[in-house]
Symmetry: C2
Subunit: 193 residues, 2 copies
Amino acid sequence: MAPKTKYTKDEVVKAAVRVVEADGLNALTARSVAMKLGSSTAPVYHHFDTMDELALCVIKETQRSLLEYTSRPYTDRVFLNMGTGVAMFALEHGQLYRALMLEGDRSSEVVREFFDTLESELPKDSRFAALSSSERRGLLRKMWIFTHGLASLICAGLIKDCNQDYIINALVDVGTDVIGATLAKHKSNGKSS
Amino acid sequence: MAPKTKYTKDEVVKAAVRVVEADGLNALTARSVAMKLGSSTAPVYHHFDTMDELALCVIKETQRSLLEYTSRPYTDRVFLNMGTGVAMFALEHGQLYRALMLEGDRSSEVVREFFDTLESELPKDSRFAALSSSERRGLLRKMWIFTHGLASLICAGLIKDCNQDYIINALVDVGTDVIGATLAKHKSNGKSS
DNA sequence: TCCGTAATCTAACATATGTTATGTAACAGT
DNA sequence: ACTGTTACATAACATATGTTAGATTACGGA
């Protein structure tokens, strides 16, 4: 039979993720992955037909990692936790956030898919129960644009002294403004109609 | 003497900008620029020692173009015009916005520099005269994060049916929320102190 | 008209990268 | 122990790109 497998498919993907994390998506080459893995390029091509295929797996793996971040209990509010998770991911894995949301060929799909995930989570927060579907969607859209902007700036290193508390504060701050305004508008609309 | 110069430095830069606009920063090569220019690569290397030098000029030119967008009178409010200009630029020159603000090696500097420009323009809007310096900065920061997030999504093609009116509406919408909250907070702080 | 300069072209070289071909050796079953 | 399979290593090939060298040629001054 064949010799025992020394580098599993998963190990190759993990090595590729580490390459992107360290030096960005442009640095993802068969040779750089092999280097991280401590092997030749052969194992890479053993598990993947093309580099594009590996890059896709890196994106998928990064997506999973991001979802793990957004499901952490930073606070007791599900919706706030998701925004915090996005920004924390950008803080701790800037290059991966860029690869996933800003650069990759599939970034549009990924962002859209992520937005849909957010939308499905929103109704779980009781504070929004009174809002109509379109009000909720408008609110979500604003908060998502803000969160994505914040994360983009964070992963560019443009928010100094950024940490978890800073992020939660920033999101609560603008969230209070926007949610407050939306609820007030809902109330006055309800009265006038 | 020498033959009349057929391709000026400016024409080379313009061609390079068109390359980036069409196919992104990764497509900026000596040969792609030469192709757009209808020449060989010689004129490129005649005006620039390295491709990095040309890329830098493309960024500078793009910066100028963006500033031109932000100084247009979309509305009668200077501050709103700047945000609208950013988003309009992202709408009409998505690849250039990415190159300038999201991808380039110098994106951090560019963004920081642009934020400073915004900050120097803010006092010109009379509505903010009452605010303290730190209140103004907080407000500006929120609006900039939102605007950058919006522009990033626009240049990824993720905002459907996006046009000038949509952009102005989006900015006025969230701007009303955030500015209203800031002014209200300022007022109550003034009363309580 | 002739010449020299320099803008451009052509072609080459060096490197980086995707990909493939070939060799090697470890493991399992006999 | 022998053998066949196959994971891996090595090295080659093709292409893309930065960069440079030499040839070419148009222009302006003599």
